[in-house]
């Protein structure tokens, strides 16, 4: 019997939710089971019907905004698109805040370190033209554009960052999302900030710290492959270093 089938015969779910800040604990609630129920539905039920003081974060509910990621039965997931039937073995759910980030309260984490690393990785577009220039014509079939397109659908949910062993071990590591963002800009022919960007990601906490464990690509809800983009960044920065384009 699969986990999904097993859940279907239960009428209630046993849901353990993280309560409190970093030094909090799990508390268990009974939540009615519904057809096509998502993990976010479960959390919302607790907040609306059992304990209105429960804190959590969501916005779009359709997998676009990337704000509802939590740890579900030990793995980071986007809760609005994760069906209970797929993850609740024996009708049990344990839902906590994302790992590798400070907990503000309950299921809400402080995302500032995550986005600061985007800044450190120079994940900001550096324009080479002004509004007075003609719009750049980008051929969609070029290798660079294809490489950028393959990585550009990141929704900043933080799932890869929470799943990453290297982030857990090395607080300076920029993480899969920031490096993936950098990779899209490295391949953007309109961008003029590549030297500074490659320099920023060639240091101690940069792309070479990645151990290629591939948790990021396994759990990315957008089915991106940050491991591959980080490997490509390793090659690109190594080439730039050998050519003397960047210095340490």
């Amino acid at each position: 019997m699969t986990a999904g089938t097993n859940v279907a015969v239960n009428t209630e779910l046993s849901v353990s939710l993280w309560r409190g800040a970093q030094d909090g604990r799990y508390e268990t609630y009974r939540v009615p089971q519904r057809a096509s129920q998502t993990v976010l539905d479960v959390v919302t039920f607790v907040q609306r019907h059992i304990d209105p003081t429960l804190s959590y974060r969501f916005a779009c509910r359709v997998g676009v905004c990337g704000s509802c990621a939590m740890t579900v039965n030990g793995k980071p997931r986007w809760t609005c698109r994760t069906h209970v039937a797929k993850v609740a073995g024996r009708g049990k759910l344990e839902i906590g805040p994302l790992a590798n980030l400070p907990v503000i309260k309950d299921l809400t984490t402080e995302m500032q370190p995550f986005f600061e690393k985007w800044q450190q990785a120079k994940g900001v577009f550096a324009p080479t033209k002004t509004r007075h220039d003609a719009v750049a014509q980008i051929e969609p079939d070029t290798p660079a554009r294809k490489a950028a397109d393959a990585a550009i659908e990141c929704i900043n949910c933080g799932v890869c960052y929470a799943a990453c062993d290297t982030v857990r071990w090395n607080s300076d590591y920029l993480g899969p999302a920031a490096l993936t963002r950098a990779w899209t800009l490295v391949n953007d022919e309109r961008d003029g900030g590549n030297t500074a960007r490659l320099q920023a990601i060639a240091g101690a906490g940069g792309c070479h710290a990645c151990h290629s464990h591939q948790s990021c690509q396994e759990l990315c809800p957008q089915a991106l492959n940050p491991t591959a983009t980080i490997a490509a960044l390793k090659r690109r920065t190594a080439t730039a270093y050998l050519k003397g384009e960047i210095k340490l």
Partner: protein, 109 residues
């Protein structure tokens, strides 16, 4: 690990790949032919080729392994960067000394 250390680790790995294959082939050859220590030493003593082969091997291993140890210490211990570097350099030097001593033992004496 920054890009410079990364390149050293990859470069030494590339150097070691053929050396490991030859090293294992030599072990198989020696054991399958029932060679004694005296037989082996008779072939290695005074050999510049074997001295060069294993000296390069020792140096590549020492650099490669000390970088690996540095990564482990950096990620798994509370040591600061300076102490991690010192431990890695010490470990690499120990490997160099022990390795070259072993090379000298089978080539020089």
């Amino acid at each position: 690990m920054n890009v410079r250390v990364y390149l050293w680790q990859r470069a030494t790995a590339a150097v070691m790949t053929p050396l490991v294959v030859v090293h294992i082939a030599v072990i198989f050859y020696a054991t399958r032919h029932g060679m004694s220590a005296i037989d082996i030493l008779a072939r290695t003593r005074g050999s510049i080729a074997w001295a060069a082969f294993y000296s390069v091997f020792v140096l590549a291993v020492s650099i490669h392994a000390s970088i690996g140890v540095r990564n482990v210490l950096s990620e798994w211990t509370p040591l600061n960067e300076r102490r991690v570097d010192a431990c890695a350099v010490f470990f690499g030097l120990v490997l160099v000394v022990l390795g070259l001593r072993a090379v000298a033992a089978v080539v020089l004496w």
